[in-house]
């Protein structure tokens, strides 16, 4: 079973839910946690284990052999991302624009293009700790997209029975890559106009992609009627309301899991039961 935790808005508590949920499931089953927020991954702050293995993720970037190149410009004219410029005497390849699609390599009539691997990030695989195996995608500084890292990281969890995916914020490409083959999404929101506006985007995304989803309202500091009305009208199930608590904020600020406390354990146990991940 693959469950992704997403939110639209940043800072609503995706990593808080992902890590505590994984720890709750791990009381009975082995669980794999994938930190798909490759731009700013934070799960390892909460799941304190040691890195077991690092896997480099790279893109195939073209190189042009000037002596073989006829300057026909087919590559630059056909590159959809504007990553190649051919001049009279020289050429430029803009690595940061290249998607590594291979089009230039295949269409070059002179066989002047070779490809080499350019690292864009790494996957840190952590030693299993108390039934949790964490893989963390980490985008290199200056790189544009973590999508290829998420794609590779998912292969590492192919044999796992229960997988929790901590999604990036927003609702664009890296979120789509995170959720495209999951069984269920947990949408985390907070009861504010910002939370409502941004959760609406991921509600639409999950609906479009036909992914079943339920909602957790986090930092519940009292009812926000517009939000309650929105979920009621759309017939969306709210499985948990986690009250705002300074104690929880303080614990999370230092990277502690909250499920070791009795009442907090109960919150996550009931989430697990209502989504059917434990009976």
């Amino acid at each position: 079973m693959k469950i992704a935790v997403l939110s639209g808005k940043g800072g609503t508590g995706k990593t808080f839910i992902s890590t505590n949920l994984a720890a709750c499931i791990a009381k009975r089953h082995k669980v794999t946690l994938l930190d798909c927020d490759t731009e700013e991954p934070n799960c390892s702050i909460f799941i304190k284990s040691k890195i077991d293995e690092k896997t480099e993720v790279s893109l195939k970037i073209p190189h042009i052999d000037s002596s073989a190149c006829s300057r026909c410009k087919k590559c630059s004219e056909n590159c959809y991302y504007g990553a190649i410029s051919i001049f009279k005497q020289s050429h430029m390849i803009f690595d940061f624009l290249c998607h590594g699609c291979g089009l230039c390599f295949y269409i070059c009539p002179c066989n002047a293009i070779k490809e080499s691997e350019k690292p864009i990030g790494i996957i840190n695989s952590y030693i299993e700790k108390e039934n949790i195996t964490l893989h963390e995608g980490l985008l290199n500084i200056g790189q544009a997209s973590g999508v290829p890292i998420i794609r590779e990281m998912k292969k590492k969890a192919a044999d796992s029975e229960i997988i929790i995916l901590d999604s990036p914020p927003g609702s664009s490409c890296s979120v789509v890559e995170t959720i495209k083959d999951i069984d269920m999404a947990l949408l985390v929101t907070e009861p504010t106009p910002y939370g409502l506006h941004d959760v609406d985007a991921v509600v639409n995304l999950c609906t479009d992609m036909r992914i079943p989803f339920v909602v957790i309202i986090n930092k519940d500091f009292g009812s926000y009627k517009k939000m309650d009305l929105y979920f009621a009208e759309k017939d969306i199930r709210v499985v948990s309301r986690i009250p705002f608590s300074e104690e929880i904020s303080e614990q999370s600020s230092t990277g502690r899991l909250i499920i070791d406390g009795k009442s907090s354990f109960h919150i996550f146990e009931s989430i697990c039961k209502s989504i059917g991940v434990i009976s």
Binding site: E39, A144, P193, S249
Partner: protein, 289 residues
């Protein structure tokens, strides 16, 4: 000269929009460009009237004409994004995975693949009193937020030039990838908002590296600074060690949540967070002007 000031954070939810809307109320004669196009929230605070709407065209997607297709599956084999899969003896494009590169169309021996572009969002100019807002809505699941952000910023800059605004305040995207990079490329100054948590510190370090790589001058603001004084101390020491100026701290203040719930700027409430933002504004004026 038009001053472009971007507010980013690495970690989401640290208070970019709260700081941006408050500064927007304090600076006069400015345009706000909301570049968090996945989750654009500034328009919720400023009750602006929509002046103009533009269509945003996203990246192209491949289409297969199954009448022409000879089922050789060369496209399936060569697509590096895993966007073409065989089903019932024919290849099918998964438009969510398609990055529009065009490789499949070039290598197809039957000339069966073509492209179409679709509207992937909208961007807007809105006004209310002396606030002008350029903002956008990227449709969920679309893949070119960096390009839309560039469009929002271009629109804001053109407007600033024709209508004589002296400053563009950019509410940036979280993260360190294309959306964050597009938010801060070629700006004059950057404010990085962090919060008093270990995640906030971790994420701060990464966005600092990106900002330095792009050679943009920047300052740090520590939000919710009394949530965990020990971590705030750690953040201050980190900044000191790299010679990064901390522009100010904003205390954790429940009034901020109340202001958001009531869809108002924190300037409208007499509260500690407001006072800190005014201090930050004063320092900022000293730095920029």
């Amino acid at each position: 000269m038009i001053e472009q000031l971007a507010i980013v954070s690495g970690k989401g939810g640290t208070g970019k929009t709260t700081l941006c809307t408050a500064l927007g109320g304090l600076f006069k004669n400015i345009i706000i460009a909301d570049c968090d196009v996945d989750a654009a929230n500034t328009a919720l605070i400023f009750k602006t009237d929509l002046i103009k709407t533009y269509d945003y065209i996203g990246s192209r997607k491949a289409f297969i004409d199954h009448g022409k297709c000879i089922s050789c599956f060369a496209c399936v084999e060569k697509c590096r994004f895993g966007a073409i899969t065989p089903k019932n003896e024919k290849p099918f494009i998964n438009s969510i995975s398609c990055e529009g590169c065009g490789l499949c169309a070039k290598i197809c021996p039957a000339d069966a693949i073509s492209f179409s572009v679709e509207k992937a969002g909208e961007y807007y100019i809105s006004k209310e009193g002396n606030i002008t807002l350029v903002h956008a809505q990227l449709y969920p699941g679309e893949d070119t937020s960096g390009k839309l952000i560039a469009q929002v910023r271009k629109t804001a800059l053109e407007l600033a030039q024709t209508e004589n605004y002296s400053m563009i305040l950019i509410d940036g995207s979280p993260g360190i990838g294309c959306a964050a990079i597009s938010s801060i490329t070629a700006v004059n100054h950057v404010i990085i908002v962090t919060e008093s948590t270990l995640s906030g510190l971790h994420d701060l370090k990464r966005i600092v590296s990106v900002t330095e790589k792009l050679r943009r001058p920047f300052w740090v603001v520590i939000n919710k600074s009394d949530l965990n004084p020990a971590i705030t101390e750690q953040i201050s020491k980190y900044c000191e060690s790299l010679n990064i100026k901390v522009l100010g701290c904003i205390p954790y203040d429940k009034t901020v949540v109340k202001a958001i719930q009531e869809e108002k700027s924190i300037l409208e409430y007499d509260c500690p967070a407001r006072n800190s933002v005014i201090e930050i504004y004063e320092k900022l004026r000293g730095e920029i002007l």
